[in-house]
Each structure stands twice: as C-alpha cells, then as structure tokens.
Amino acid sequence: MTRYPPPILDPRIPPGPLAEKWRNRRASGRLVAPANRRRYEIIVVGSGLAGASAAATLGGLGYRVRCFCYQDSPRRAHSVAAQGGINAAKNYRNDGDSIDRLFADTMRGGDFRAREANVWRLAEVSNAIIDHCVAIGVPFAREYGGMLDNRSFGGALVSRTFYARGQTGQQLLLGAYAQLNQQIAAGTVTMHPRTEMLDLVTVADGNGTRHAKGIVTRHLVTGEIRAWAADAVVLATGGYSNVFFLSTNAIGCNATAIWRAYRRGAGFANPCFTQIHPTCIPPHGEGQSKLTLMSESLRNDGRVWVPKDPADCDKDPLAIPEDRRDYFLERRYPAYGNLVPRDIASRAAKAVCDEGRGVGPLVGGLRRGVYLDFTESEARYGHDAIVARYGNLFEMYESITGEDAHRRPMRIYPAPHYTMGGLWVDYDLMSTIPGLFVIGEANFSDHGANRLGASALMQGLGDGYFILPVTLPDYLARSGPSSVTPDDPDFHSVLADVRARVDGLLAVSGTRSARSFHAELGRILWDRCGMSRNAEGLAKAIEEIGELRRAFWSDLRIPGKGEELNTELERAGRVADFLELGELMCRDAMMREESCGAHFREEHQTEDGEAARDDERFAHVAVWFDQGEAPPVRVIEPLTFSAIAPAPRSYR
C-alpha cells in the first residue's frame, strides 16, 4: 500500500454564531444549475436511512445516482431494525424542549467529545425530518386527538422521541426506500443490490491531490468484480459493531467500505468510541451468532435490579423480597434513575455482574444478566397499557428465551450496538479525501463519545435528506464534471489490487472457517476493548490480534470459487478487515488516557467509579491515518465549546 502523508485537518466550520452557522454555510455554498445536474454522477454505497435518503434526494434534485447495497433489497439495510424512536426538538409536549436543549443534551450525552457546530446543525434540522417523514407517509404513533405522540428516552428530561410502536426504524426506512423507489422508477437512481464495495478509487487532479472518483465492487451472486466511475462517492455503510462478532447488528454489517477508504488515505476518527447497549437479551453460550436488542424505551417503565446478596442469584426472582433487591440505577443515579444514558447503564450492569450478583445461567463462569422488572408499572397502568406500549418486545423476548416477562422479570445484559467512531468528516460531511463523503453511522458523527437513544435515526436522515444535498453540490460545482472512466489506469490498478486480495483469500487453503477467526477476535475485543479498558489489556490485545491476523492469513479455508455466490468468501473479506480495524480500536483506546462516554479506562475513574474525563489533554477528536506497513499516525482535531462549558456529566 502507498503511504499517504496525513493532511492538516480543517473542519471548515462556517463563520458566525453557533445558531447562524448552517444558514451561513447554505448561503455561501456554490450551486449546480438544474439543467447541469444530470452531467454529474454520484455513487452512494449503502441503502439504510442515510444512504437511501441521500440517494433519493440527490436523484430528486436531478443528479445521476448509483446506489449499491449488499442486501437483496435496499429495504433490508439494518436501519430497519431500530426500534425505539427518533428525536426532534418539536416541543409538542410543551415541556421546555428547544433546539438549544436538544443540542445541549447531545453534547452532554456525548461527554463533550463531539464537534459543537455539527451537533447544533443536527438539532436544527431535526424538526424538518419529522415534517418530511410525516408527509411521505410514515405512520408515527398518535394521540386520540390526531396529534403526534412522544415518549421519553435516556439522557433527556423532556419527551421528544417520535415512534412507531417498536419498529420506528423500519417505518422510517420504508419511507426513505419509497422515496428511493420513486427515483429508481424515474430513472435518476440506478440500484445495484447484492453488490458489495471492496475498494475506493482515487484519481489525482492537476495539483496532485487525489479525489475519490469511483469504487470497485463484487457482485455477490455472479462474483463479477468491476469498477464504477463517478464525480463523487458517498459512503453510508453503517457502523462496525460486528468487529465484536456478537453484536446487535445484522450478520452482514461490516466495515469493509470505510476500512478500504481508510487504507486509501481517509482519516479514521475515534475508533475506540463503541457503544454497548444496556437492554439486550443475555448471551446463551456456545453456537450463538447474534445478540438481540430490546428497545431502550423499556427503561421508561421497567425497573432494573439484581439481588443484594449473591446467594440469592439463582433463586426465583419472585421469591426475593423487596428489601433484598438492589435497584442499582435508582440507587446510584436518583435524578435520572433507570433512564441514565446507555454507557452509564451498561457499565453499572457489568459492575454488578462482575461482583457476582448477576442473574440467569452461567455463561463463561459468570451470570450475565440483570432483571428488568415491570411488576410495578403493570400495577400502576394495568397489564393492557404495558402490552400496548411494549407488546412486540415482550413477544420477542418470549420467543427467544421461552419466558413470559409479564410473569417474571426480563433478564437483560449489555451488547455492542453502535459505533460513534468512523471516518472523519468536515462540516460538509466530506472525509480527508476530497469527493469522498461519509454519512450516517459510518462517519465519526455528532455523538461524541456516547450516543443518546433515538439520535441515530435523526442523524442518518438529517445527513441524507437535508445536509449532504446542500454540501455535496458545492464540491461538484467547484470541481466540475469529471472525465474519468473505469478504463483509466487508476481504476485498473485498484481492480488488480481487489482481484489479488480475493484470490489471496481463496488461496490460503488452510483448515479454519472465517467465522472461527471472527469469534476469536470478538472475544479479545470484548474482554480487552469492551466496556472497560486498561493499558495492560490493550497492549495484550494488540499482540493477540496481530497473531490472530497471521493465523488467519495462513490457516483460512474457503470452499468454492470467487466467480459464484460464495458466502464464506464474503465473510472472510469482512473478517480480514475487522482484524485490522480491531487493532486500530485498541491503539486508539490506549492513547486516550481518560474516561469519557462509552470509553472507560480503568486507570481513570473517580473514587465512586465514575468516568474521569480529562479535558486538558483530550478535548479533541483523534484521527488516524494509515501508513502501510508502518504504524498508523494519530492527528488531532481540537474541540472548542462556546455554548456550554464542558462540565463533568452528572445524572445523580
């Protein structure tokens, strides 16, 4: 691989007060005339909330768009699985909400590790997202008067979350997919399902600066590897929680697109910021392929507890009297109680399980579970009200565990769920490679070191419907239509790299499946770079991952050929990239010698076990640049806070 000198990071934040920045950016951006738009081709990789909304909107504006997804239909992108809801600062409840407050909650929830100008803009566009989604037919929950209903979510003291039962993600995605379908029918968007991006093509301009001008893909049914040229490339390929092997992500979710872009020179920001979601169904043991999330909204009405005495842990929970229960979130955080942000809830649950007070079966020598109890809510609101609110979640829990959570408390345990880290982008959502835009979970985003519930959907749609369609045309207008074609030498060289890589995977001819390496990587990362981390463990993990990577490239076995549907080959390629990304996560976690949000360094905690943030040394985004065989280079983007002072988080 070529070595790329790390660029100087310019976030290109527009001038003016925080509340004026987005207006100023819109006013200053260059435009492309309607008749000229069809002269530009844009590649969008990924068809989730961010990708589908971006592709549909850009197509609607008149650009020629190609959209790629690995699934058989864009409707299956994993945004579909989001349950709880989407935030907006509508203040329909008249409970004191505003753009300022959504901004402040997001900054605070992210533990002051997000770029404030981006966060403000996100809060600002949140209301337009709801308006648009209602207009395109998203059937949000409503009150009897016909107005939109809201619920509360973790990390906020207002009710600003819009929802559609437990399937808000599916409804929002179907909305974006419908808009996409309209453009496909109109011919502005060409859809390429079952097609996976395997590399990025960059082409030098007159000054020698390399711009993103295309991608190389593999068709997952025919195995055909081919190159596509365009004027700009948008990555909307989601997060990398599957690096942990067991996560709540879909089985196919992967980091290959963003990782390959990193290897071609894009900066990777805050890779160690990974969110572990508190309300998942506990792991059951061997043979498991996936963890299942249950919406955080359950924490509105469920109370989290474990027995006070480890001796009670294998007893029937109904037989444990009140005074022998420890409602540990309510005890430790009386102000927010069960609705503390995700990172805090997850860590607290892990702590009580590590103390030996967890419940449920022994998995790996530990009872990995805490109770989520609805008894009190059922008594207060009635059984029917609880069924109306969470019926589908109770059914899901029962179908997986065989237990009825109306009769005995649910058991929950944290699981990898979302990644705040991702490719670095400037205010325009452009990466360090000109012409490469990154939106949704794939970028390092607006969530700092911890994302609040119901903010991912907001960000994905905000990026796709309202932000990218303003910022990307500015890049096009400045660079003009490009004349590159897939026959250019730059494309041939990347095609050759991809073919060599695929052939290399097939040629290993060892004895172990890609899954077995993936599972081993997951165990290393979960133990050493999961909910809590320390320098010693991270150093060890870097060593272990290096060994595992060597084993992978000498003992991998993939039956079959490259020119056919080959699910083992698909997985092997993704695991190969996870094996590199996992190491970068550990390096990043090692260098960030503080605790903030989801990143908890055991060496940096307060006397009562809370995260000890170090704003003096670490109020910055850490951006990593690949250096080929040499270790990656870490460059920082300092963060400044003009609107709210970065006080320590307190949810007590």
């Binding site: 909107t57 037919g137 599916q170 089985i251 059951h284 179908s399 309202f466 083992e568």
Partner: protein, 255 residues
Amino acid sequence: MSAPISLTLRVWRQDGPGVKGRFEDHRLNSVSRHLSLLEALDLVNERLVAGGKRPIAFDHDCREGICGACAMTVNGVPHGGLGRLTVCQIHLHRFSDGDRIVLEPLRARPFALIRDLVVDRSPLDAIQQAGGFISVRPGQAPDANVVPIARDIAETALDLASCIGCGACVAACPNGSAMLFTAAKVGHLNLLPQGAPEADRRALAMVQAMDHAGFGACSNHGECAAVCPKGIGVSAIARLTRAYTGAARRQLLSL
C-alpha cells in the same frame, strides 16, 4: 429448556437455476435448545466448511424478524407456521428431540432460484417502484401536526406498513399471487391523508406492476394471511380490491 436436543435438518441443495436439486440430511447431536434455527444452520455450515464442502446458501441478515431476508419454508410452510414468527425467530426449544426439520426455498414462479435456499425476490421491489410512494421532496412538507390523523387510522396504516417484504405470502399462495403484499403497501399509503392525492394512480399502477412481474391472481384462499409473520389480514385485500375497482371506474369514466 436446559436439556440439549438432537435434530436432523433436511435441506434443499441446488447449485443454481435450472440445475437438478436434491435434499441433504444433516444431523445435529446434543445442541443447545437456546440456539435459533439459523444458528443451527450456521453450525451445519461450519462443519461443511471444515470438511472443505460448500456451505448451505440462505438469505438472512438482521436475525430479529424485521429485515425480511430469511424467508424459507420450514416443514412445508413459509416461516414454519409457528405463529407470528420469521424463520430467524424460531428457536430450537420449539422442537422435540429427534425431530426432522425440512428446509426448502420459497417456491413461486416470480422468485427465480439462485442457489440452495436463496431466491430472487426483486419482483417485490418492482411493484413498489410502480407507485409505493408519496411524491414529496425534502423541504416541501408543512409542520408535522398540521394534518391531524385519527389514532385508529394511523394504527391501521401501521398494521399494514408492518409488512417486512419477506415474500412468504407469495410462496404460500397456490396462485403465487402477491396480492397481500401489494394490498399492504397500497393500503398503508392510501389510508393516510398524505397519500390521498395519488391514491388512484397508486392502486392501478401497483396492481398492474404485480401482474407484469408474473404474480398470479388472488382467488381468496387466505393462505397468505395464515403465514404472514406480521399478522397482516386478508381484509387488506378487500381494501385493495375496493380501491382498485373505484380507481378503475374513475379512470374509465375520466372522473
């Protein structure tokens, strides 16, 4: 729940379209009842890979019953007929020791077989491209609460919108009809005031697209609703028929 279980998976193997297929038996001895059916398939595949054999191809992704990728027939019924569950939501605790579970692809003419349990369901996308949308651009919408929608209307629309596009309804239908699918999609949008301006156009275009894609006609068997993992009922079809005939009449009379 805690005792392990032994099962045989009898799986349809077919290298590609037009190639002769066959059943293949895979025995699983003393595995956890907590495994999902697809995790059991994962185990079989691990064994096949270890032996250098091609693993069983099947579509799957979210593994929590919402992406709709994993439809196949389980013991002759799409999604297995075990209640409102998708294949990925079936866990082995639902079976008895010694059971043989037969897994086959969704069989319907418009769904061309790709390999093993994988079929091409893109004709479902084609139906939606014909009219399954409301034509509004980002930025055009009025405030979200300007148009009140009665709660029961919103809830019924959501019942219909909960379709996950898995195609089980098509495979269960003796005619290979996509009527329930199309009815759910048309019904969701036509019920909402936002969908009203394009309601007639939508019903006509989507039914026509369904016919063009080679799906059969509906003859009210109701097998579709019986297998729908999201519980979408046949009343949706009645609603579509009404919308379609009304729209066709208005079109004919140029109203």
